[in-house]
Symmetry: C2
Subunit: 338 residues, 2 copies
Amino acid sequence: MKPELTAHGHLMANEAAQAMAVFCASASQDLTALVAQQGIGDAKAIYTIARGSSDAVANILSYEFMRELGVPVTSLPPSVFSLGRGVDVGGAAVLIISQSGASDDLVYSAKGAAAKGAKVIAITNQPYSSVEKAAALAIPIGAGAELAVPATKTVVGSIAAGTALLSALVPSYGLRAKSAIDCLRAISTVHPKADDLRASFLRARHVYVIGRDTGYGAAHEVALKLKECCALHAEAYSASEVLHGPLQLATNPLMVLILDTGAGNIKASLDQAEARFRAVGCDVQRISPADLGARDLTPAAAAALMLAVMYQIILKTALALGLNPDAPETLSKVTKTT
Amino acid sequence: MKPELTAHGHLMANEAAQAMAVFCASASQDLTALVAQQGIGDAKAIYTIARGSSDAVANILSYEFMRELGVPVTSLPPSVFSLGRGVDVGGAAVLIISQSGASDDLVYSAKGAAAKGAKVIAITNQPYSSVEKAAALAIPIGAGAELAVPATKTVVGSIAAGTALLSALVPSYGLRAKSAIDCLRAISTVHPKADDLRASFLRARHVYVIGRDTGYGAAHEVALKLKECCALHAEAYSASEVLHGPLQLATNPLMVLILDTGAGNIKASLDQAEARFRAVGCDVQRISPADLGARDLTPAAAAALMLAVMYQIILKTALALGLNPDAPETLSKVTKTT
């Protein structure tokens, strides 16, 4: 066995490096026939149910789906089905995202939502999982085995699976998604300021990760990974929400990372947040797909790209701190909760 | 002018002390006729729209309403209406919570949701506000003027306004709410371990505030106030969610505050989280209405009581840190965002 294969972080490094290839393959799935057969396009509302990184994906997809479909796409807590008696979801679709498809609470949710009248759609990386079996439509992430505890390629692949679903529902979106996939096939995910960002994380005691629209869900995922891999307290906020009470944390040493998807309608909001945090002396960093030469991405693809970029920087930060991101000491790959 | 009246924190202390009286008055409103007139009970789904502390209230109410009504109650981001073109909310009710009723994004949301077919309900503390004017049904918080920047009595009063709404929709819930109000009229909100909790906060560099069901929204509000008043990085998690990636932060000095509403179906989950955090050496504190002798509260009333308790402890922590919670240096009472 080569020494490199046993080094800390090699699993996560290897899997994070596959993220964009997984995205392109998963987003290219043609789901048109399956979606038409299930009548998913008739849903009056979509409820997402997910935990952790998958819930960050659900958040990213909610903005993309609301913009394209014009119906509410919101998040239901699994406990409504796992601890409570459920709610009536007749006429709605329920989108469950789970890498393993095996968590008890999500299995309860899939069965409960189906019993309460919803069309259940499952995005999982495990064929024939319990969540898939309870679903009317299963969309594979197709990322292959993921061995590092922190999920990377499956997270980006889940965004892609959602992109494939939306492409099947809205053909004009499918054309834009195809352009984004073509752009991402050729992209480097090594950010030109990667070393600066790592240095900022190493100096930081607290981090806010800020985004809006699909960048807000990406901010959730980056904040989660900074805790999981680097034991660094990072928290996600929308650019508007953070200017209420949370701004006061800036009186303690605070790093602010802004994930800018490049969408025109959020620029003023991100600019305002950046200016306010700079004015009170924070270390503010801002990254965008344009930094890597990417153009004309869909907002969800832009979020996926920023995750692929950040995974590598977070990994290097963890290694610099002497941590093993492949297997954080307090965590295991499958978490059993209700 | 007496010296006490100009001391730091006197506004917040005074207003937080009124919280339970505001709760009892606001929750006792009889909205039966108004609610019947508007047909709110026919809604197939309820969407909440709010920011900051009001969004924590929306989270608390979502669990209470889902349990009692059996319909999905989920959160829509205001940006869907303020930056985007909105979504179809025909057949649904939209509950907007805003102390001032004046924030631009919530005004856009109220008007947008009404135009897209929703019955709009407004909970505000400001009669004739712009949000109220766009609503079919306005429920006053009735807390009186709130002068400290950190909202306290209006937050607890918003939970109460939601309690009054639910009582009008579900008479059997109204009877349980009345018992809770009777209990809370006589309750002390000074926690027997208040000094211990303050000492824990003063030692802490990072705090997780943990709850489930209505305790989860309360955890959001407590975490927000710890940032706002004490510049202490606190983050809210559900007891199940936190055992995924966020547990790793416990390898840094971490304080964990568990808000236990006392509901039987969440006990196992909170116990599991407490055991896991204790096992990795955290300073774990857990509070519950039973500590104060309160019994048979509704879950929402239990959340309101824990907020009233925590406001006083957060205030004393801020004062011990030499901060002025009445007017945090980076914040203003009304935040203009889109």
